[in-house]
């Protein structure tokens, strides 16, 4: 059974075929990267997988279950976590409240209305565990907007992992990070490999090639090449549409 499978999915905006007939499969625990130049359809594909946009045609399944018609929050509850290209947190809430929000749906507490949120020990204990692990415990009462960009990216990942997803969609996770922060983030992905299936969409081909077990290259909405990093890197078509441009630009 695949962790995530998209069977010839397409998305048409008016006359524009943003994604056409793309098939992508991610094995449990595998890390797959999607790369491609600007306008290749990476972000649209991610929206289709997460459910933010409906597919024009094709089917998507998660751990063997058809989720094509499911709304984003239902897909999340079926085990699909995600991070966003632009940091997406709850800026005026504290770090701890951010984590509590990520945990509540999994502890069956999300509609509770009669008791303070802080009185649910199962949520609070896991929040403490996750905050200690992530090194945020000491400053858990700080509003998130006061964190550095790197810390916010890190917290973003903690939120996405709170529900122990079986698949994690990562949208440009290293965008805007310093060199050191990028290295830390790459190490985190390395540690997550095997535990959770990851689908990494990235401009940052260095990270993609360093972390991914396999790579899919999109070009003009279609799947151009897929395979292990070394094969993809050596493929002349990829050189031409993607790496070639990069080299010339540099």
């Amino acid at each position: 059974m695949k962790a995530l499978s998209a069977q010839s999915v397409s998305k048409v905006f008016g006359g524009l075929h943003a994604v056409s007939g793309v098939t992508i499969e991610v094995e449990p625990g595998e890390c797959r990267a999607i790369i491609g130049p600007n306008g290749a359809g990476k972000t649209t594909l991610l929206h289709l997988l997460s459910g933010t946009l409906p597919v024009t045609s094709g089917a998507i399944s998660l751990m063997g279950q058809d989720v094509t018609k499911m709304r984003p929050f239902s897909r999340t509850l079926k085990g699909l976590g995600r991070t966003f290209q632009i940091t997406s947190l709850f800026p005026s809430l504290t770090i701890e409240q951010n984590v509590m929000l990520a945990l509540q749906p999994w502890e069956g507490r999300r509609y509770a209305i009669y008791r303070p949120a802080t009185s649910f020990t199962s949520v609070m204990n896991r929040a403490q565990e996750m905050l200690e692990e992530g090194g945020f415990w000491e400053k858990r009462s700080v509003p998130v907007r006061q964190l550095s960009h790197g810390e916010q990216r890190q917290l973003e990942l903690i939120l996405a992992l709170a529900g122990r997803p079986s698949v994690l969609l990562l949208d440009e996770p290293t965008a805007g990070l310093s060199e050191a922060e990028r290295t830390t983030m790459t190490e985190v992905f390395y540690r997550l490999k095997g535990e959770v299936a990851m689908l990494l969409v990235s401009h940052d081909i260095d990270v993609a090639f360093a972390v991914a077990d396999s790579i899919s290259v999109l070009h003009l909405g279609e799947l151009l090449v897929e395979g292990p990093p070394l094969e993809v890197r050596a493929d002349p078509r990829v050189m031409r549409v993607y790496l070639g441009d990069e080299v010339e630009d540099a």
Partner: protein, 329 residues
């Protein structure tokens, strides 16, 4: 992890700020309880209006301050609650307790229907749709003369007795509304501190992220919308008894704008803000109406502009900022 660290964690989770909030609330409550004995009878009536509009504003604060949905249409539920209890108890001689509960249920049902329409939009569009809905409600109230009395209004609403007390006395009726205010504040504090309330704040901050965390954000907003309608209905019922007559204007934009301004001016997203805002606006209307009759809406608009430009966090936020600056010296 020992229990003591856990307790410390809870303390840091805002129970410290809850304590100051609780003391402030208790102080206000004591003030409200003793005040009628020290002021002229006329001002007891004014304070009753402050209390009624505070209940109204608490409901809107849940929607606007905590969920991030600014509504300019709360008058619909306020007026419907009022007409509900008036028509039932006067026209159909329904016993008062049933009339009161029934009117609040009708206001809640109306919010449940209007919410389906309004929640298709967000931000300014949400505000415009709620405004259009309250205008439609006003048009119905204004033209359905056989039910509401139309422009003549709906007279003859008499107050019920409550256990051994007659509520015809202004002071007794004042305490009757105060009881509802306390209940409203307690309910509100429970809601905003619960997981549900935290989720509302999450939606205010970042709805898309809430969805990706597994929350059915629409349902949360819908429930908050209905709750705000229920608070509006309760305020409308109390106001109908307070005034003794109902005008279709209660369903119009003016009360909707007044309550919106109470939330903005008091401090959206704070517990005590709506109370402060209701007191300030009704106090100001009392003073300004004496010296500048017919100019009230102009002052209301001016106040709105000043607070939007200079103190978006309202009077509570302003005081907090001043205190912080003062304590740094």
């Amino acid at each position: 992890m020992s229990t003591s660290t856990r307790v410390a964690a809870k303390n840091r989770m805002g129970i410290g700020s809850l304590a100051t909030g609780t003391y402030a609330m208790l102080g206000v409550l004591v003030l409200f309880v003793i005040l009628p004995h020290f002021i002229p009878g006329y001002y007891v009536g004014v304070l009753t209006r402050v209390i009624i509009f505070a209940i109204f504003a608490i409901g809107l604060n849940l929607l606007m301050g905590y969920t991030g949905l600014p509504s300019l249409g709360q008058g619909a539920y306020f007026g419907t609650g009022a007409f509900g209890v008036g028509v039932m108890t006067v026209t159909y001689n329904v016993p008062h307790p049933i009339g009161m509960v029934g009117a609040v249920v009708i206001a809640g049902l109306m919010a449940a229907v209007y919410g389906l329409v309004a929640l298709r939009a967000r931000g300014a569009y949400f505000l415009l749709i709620t405004m259009a809905l309250t205008l439609s409600t006003w048009a119905i109230a204004f033209t359905w003369r056989s039910l509401t009395g139309g422009e003549d209004g709906f007279p003859g609403v008499t107050r019920p007795g409550f256990l051994p007390w007659s509520l015809t006395s202004e002071v007794n009726y004042y305490y009757f509304t105060l009881f509802f205010l306390v209940a409203a504040v307690v309910a509100f504090v429970l809601i905003v501190r619960s997981p549900f309330g935290l989720a509302l704040q999450g939606i205010r901050e970042n709805e898309q992220r809430m969805r990706s965390l597994g929350y059915n954000t629409w349902l949360y907003m819908y429930i908050a919308f209905i709750m705000a309608g229920v608070f509006g209905g309760v305020a409308g019922v109390l106001n109908a008894y307070s005034v003794g007559a109902i005008s279709p204007e209660w369903t119009n934009i003016l009360p909707s704008a007044e309550v919106l301004l109470m939330v903005i001016l008091g401090g959206p997203g704070t517990i005590i803000g709506p109370l402060v805002g209701a007191g300030a606006i009704i106090g100001a209307s009392e003073i300004l109406n004496i010296h500048f009759p017919e100019r009230w809406i102009m002052f209301l608009g001016g106040g709105y502009i000043v607070f939007m430009l200079f103190a978006r966090d309202g009077m509570v936020g302003l005081v907090r900022r001043l205190l912080r600056r003062w304590s740094k010296r």
